[in-house]
């Protein structure tokens, strides 16, 4: 469903240029949930941004549904691929109601039946009709992230890109959002790429994962390998140890 070959992304020019992604390759099968893991600055979010067209200048090949992607993306692409961002506070337009936020993608894709779709999308993410005409500042962090997920899914995409969707939320809300994502992925047979620095989240949600460091792939493994604590590379082992938290000496 998604194939990335020798992806390179560079920001800036000359001596000050930063190579955020350095020759990354991976493939994600249909209905698979794939994780991109790494510490901050490893380039995992940049990969996601290149995939959905937010980073236009890249080298290498990105193929989505067997179609090679160029600098600009078509309406069909945005119908096929949608993304949920990390920050539920910043990713929703502050002066648009939930109704308008959800209605805009429907209008862009000329889907029709906006009322019905919006009501259904809110229901699917566990929000009642009373939320429809509220503004983002009138919602909690978890409710906002549910609106973000509804916004992404309202055009019925086959691929969902998740950029650390729970890292800005309280621990109690994180579990709710993760369970919601798991349910939606199952019900809608979504192909998903999840970016996270939280190995527990990735192990819980993903089938396979790729560990990244400094823009390069370190190791690809299954979630089962992660859970049984059998990573090969030293960097992955260090990442795993770090995710276990502090230990009292």
């Amino acid at each position: 469903m998604i194939e990335v070959e020798n992806l390179r992304v560079r920001f800036g020019r000359g001596k000050g240029a930063v190579e955020a992604v350095r020759g990354l390759s991976f493939a994600v099968k249909e209905r698979e949930t794939f994780g991109l893991v790494g510490e901050s600055g490893s380039g995992k979010s940049t990969v996601l941004r290149a995939l959905c067209g937010l980073v236009r200048d890249f080298e290498g090949t990105i193929r989505v549904a067997s179609e090679a992607q160029r600098r600009t993306r078509t309406d069909e692409f945005h119908r096929l691929v949608q993304m949920v961002f990390q920050d539920p506070f910043g990713s929703l337009h502050p002066r648009h109601t939930v109704d308008r936020i959800l209605g805009e993608p429907i209008a862009i894709q000329r889907l029709g039946n906006a009322d019905l779709r919006i009501a259904r999308a809110l229901f699917e993410v566990g929000l009642g009709p009373s939320f429809r005409f509220r503004y983002p500042h009138q919602l909690s962090g978890g409710q906002r992230q549910r609106v973000s997920i509804a916004r992404a899914l309202i055009v019925e995409p086959r691929i969902l890109l998740l950029d650390e969707p729970t890292s800005a939320l309280d621990v109690s809300v994180q579990a709710e959002i993760l369970n919601l994502l798991m349910r939606l992925r199952r019900e809608r047979a979504l192909t998903t790429i999840l970016v996270s620095h939280n190995l527990a989240v990735v192990g819980h949600l993903c089938d396979r994962l790729l560990v990244m460091n400094a823009g390069r792939a370190v190791e690809e493994m299954t979630a089962e390998d992660l859970r049984t604590g059998a990573p090969r590379e030293e960097y992955t082992q260090a990442l795993l140890r770090a995710s276990e938290g502090y230990r009292r000496l």
């Binding site: 993306r73 945005h78 337009h93």
Partner: protein, 347 residues
Amino acid sequence: MSSRSGLPAQAAVHAFSAFGIVAQTAATFAGLLLITFLIGRVLPIDPVLAAVGERASADVYEKVRVELGLNLPLHVQFWNYAVKVLHGDLGRSVLTANPVLTDIRRVFPATLELATLGTLIGVLLGVPIGVVAAARRGGFIDRVARVFALFGYSVPIFWLGLMGLLLFYARLGWVLGPGRIDVAYDEVVAPLTGALLVDSALRGEWEVFRNALGHIVLPAAVLGWLSLAYISRMTRSFLLAELGEEYVTTARVKGLSEWRVIVRHALRNALVPLVTVIALSYATLLEGSVLTETVFAWPGLGMYITNSLLSADMNAVLGGTLVVGCVFIGLNLLSDLVYRLVDPRVR
């Protein structure tokens, strides 16, 4: 249940907020009254002497001093001043012998017309230039806009006016000279609003309209450049801040074209603080662009206050200052209301 009880609570919040705005405006106006009153008392200009002349006898001087109420305690004088102002009595001008309010009614429309046209030029050109500069950050248009704005900021406005007159009036003859209208057309159109362009258009006097336009276009362009410089830089700055927000990235992911993202999402949010900038810029031009009005012999409020000050006509100076202050307060209030109207977070 909660939604039902929420409505009166929301109405109470709105009422409290409206009361706060009214109270704030009233307090600012009271402060303005006090300041203008104190200016009149602190300045080394004797209002009695200005009224009676240097050759008046001591008896006449004392009689006028009592008539003007200057023998009363300061707080009583302030009270009398405030009551008179609130009744629309700004005193009588020594220079013109008219009530100050009558004079201001005569000169203010000229300033209003000039400042409005200047602001229109500033907004209609400044906002698009700022938008393009932000959208093409670091590009050719951005660099040209920066230099253009820098000129607007840094070149003294009187020099710009003089050079404008020299080039476009004296050399090229593209515009008409100083003044608001040629003597031949003076008082041809009976005033409706006081703004010559509007009045002549409403009366269908197109020859007068063309003449007035020929006179106003250069001073308005000079003021417009100043306004444009400020508004274009602020538009660029506010828009860049908005373009860095994640909701803009969300809009791109939705599949909107880049220009729609800029205009429909980022610019609309950037316009919220820009309203205040435009209002303040307008107020600055309305306060009487003294130098511009002097260079172009424009019979507006700035020139009226300047001439009054040079003649020690304090009633006129303080009356003019009060009007300028009221314009500031009014435009601030307006921008505050617009802010509340367009941004649901501050309603």
